[in-house]
Amino acid sequence: MELKYTHSELMAVSGARELKDGEIVAVGLGLPVVASFLAKMTHAPDMTILFELGIIDPEPVHCGVGLADPRVWHRAKVMSSFVDILGSILHKGRVDVGFLGGLETDQYGNLNTTLVGDPRGKFRHMVGSGGANDIASAAKRTIIIIRHDARKLKETIAFVTSPGYVEGGESRAKAGLAGGPSRVITDKAIFGFDEETKKMRLLSIHPGSTLEDVLGTMGFAPVVPKEVPFTEPPTEEQLRLIRTSIDPGRMYMG
């Protein structure tokens, strides 16, 4: 029988599948939290979850409105500081994966969380970096989660808050940065990055979407291989965990 699931659930499950057991993961709120806890509850029990403000491996029993909500700190093994988490773990080079979201991203995985409009003219200022730029600069790899929309997947973005592969090719390394984005997960598809050009490369299309739909709703043309498989759907167990224990109130997946 076929399972019913939402785009958000598939995105969370796809994010979870990118995480390996034993890895150290820097997480922001929303889908990444669901993806991380799902991975920890299934194939990655020894994965470590970090929140930048000073939280390691919490076990929340309630959903929170953000990282500033004590509900998401509950039962942490460590409660410390930015310098501890972002300094002695991230800046020291110990973070394997960082999750990033944003207002806009370009074909090189550069992310904008700062403003919409023209930075030199009329613009609306938004959230800014928080730890995003730090994670994008120092994590071994990052996973971008963003809605699939031509206004979000753009040829050029208004502001680079968190660098991806900058202008592609060797430009990220030339800027003095290691790591870089490994995946972009949208509600229609999953992308990787081309080894050489560092341009976004289509890896799989979510069941229900088509290649035309995927390409027709983005502002640039990703590399498209001849064969593009469908994204593996969530398992019954994964959906059960998300719906009954990780996000019963649909707060993160809303």
């Binding site: 939280i55 004590p70 972002l86 970096s129």
Partner: protein, 299 residues
């Protein structure tokens, strides 16, 4: 030494034009009562620094007390944005030096250790650093690692005139405990020339001596200790009280226009002689008790 003071006295010690670091993180342990009293006393031209911009900073900006902001971006979590800060940036009435969480944290850390500068891997290849170089070129530089020759971005230390930290527990000398995560607060206090502690509860020094490992801010850094319950309202204080969702939603509505915010200030800042009158506006003790943290959960 007994440093107990009223909020009015502590705030009055801050001249306009000072650099003040605030202890808030979006909607938790924000120096709200402090910010309201600063606006009440008409202190202005402040430089405010904070790793992640929080509600205390947004209120101060909305109250017209801030000239310059040094931060790593911020929000009110799911409740909304730092609309007063954002408006100030959009209409150029606020100079905002925008970094990332770690770069501001490292600037406080360098300040706390008497370091002349601190290297960092962040900011490179971003528009953040381009903007900082345009707005405040003197706060960043590039130098070669004398050991490897590698080029490193280095940041200038942050040295606030006053650090304002909302804590759960302190004694009258200012020896303070922070329960839960501390984000940038300890580095802020040690980087600043002096610290104003706003404590939910003041305990005898004897209590501090029984758990000295918990003293994250030694009293020698502190100039004033203000004992003020619910001083972070409507934001939360871990293990003391939860955030007041309705009050934050009202704040977000008030952020919409300068006019609506002005009315908010009239009602919740200027019409209140002090913090106790402010609290009464929310139904006083009866309402506040509904926010009291559960002893096991801490929220």
């Amino acid at each position: 030494m007994n440093k107990l003071a009223t909020l009015k006295e502590a705030v009055a010690s801050i001249p306009s034009g000072s650099h003040v670091s605030l202890s808030g993180f979006p909607i938790t342990r924000c120096a709200m009562a402090f910010a309201r009293e600063v606006i009440r006393q008409g202190i202005g031209d402040l430089t405010v620094s904070q790793c992640v911009g929080a509600m205390d900073t947004d209120l101060l900006v909305g109250g017209g007390a801030v000239k310059r902001l040094i931060y790593g971006g911020g929000s009110l979590d799911r409740f909304g944005r730092l609309a007063c800060v954002n408006r100030g940036i959009e209409n150029k009435t606020l100079q905002a030096d925008e970094y990332s969480s770690l770069s501001v944290a490292f600037r406080f850390l360098a300040g706390s250790l008497g370091q002349p500068f601190i290297p960092i891997r962040s900011l490179k290849g971003s528009d953040l650093i381009r903007q900082i170089k345009e707005k405040s070129a003197g706060d960043v530089a590039t130098i070669a690692d004398p050991f490897t020759g590698e080029e490193w971005l280095v940041l200038k230390p942050l040295l606030p005139d006053v650090s304002v930290v909302q804590v759960q527990v302190a004694d009258q000398e200012g020896n303070s405990w922070i329960v839960g995560p501390r984000w940038d607060n300890v580095e802020q206090a040690k980087a600043a020339s002096r610290t104003i502690i706003i404590a939910e509860r003041v305990v005898p020094t004897e209590v501090i001596r029984q758990n000295p490992e918990r003293t994250v801010i030694p009293g020698i850094f502190v100039s004033h200790v203000v004992a003020q319950p619910f001083a972070a309202h409507p934001t939360s204080v871990y293990r003391e009280y939860d955030y007041d969702a309705r009050a934050i939603e009202d704040y977000v509505k008030a952020q919409e226009t300068p006019e609506t915010f002005r009315r908010y200030l009239d009602e919740f800042v200027f019409d209140c002689d002090d913090h106790w009158e402010y609290l009464e506006k929310f139904g006083g003790l009866k309402h506040l008790e509904t926010l009291r943290a559960d002893a096991v959960l801490g929220y």
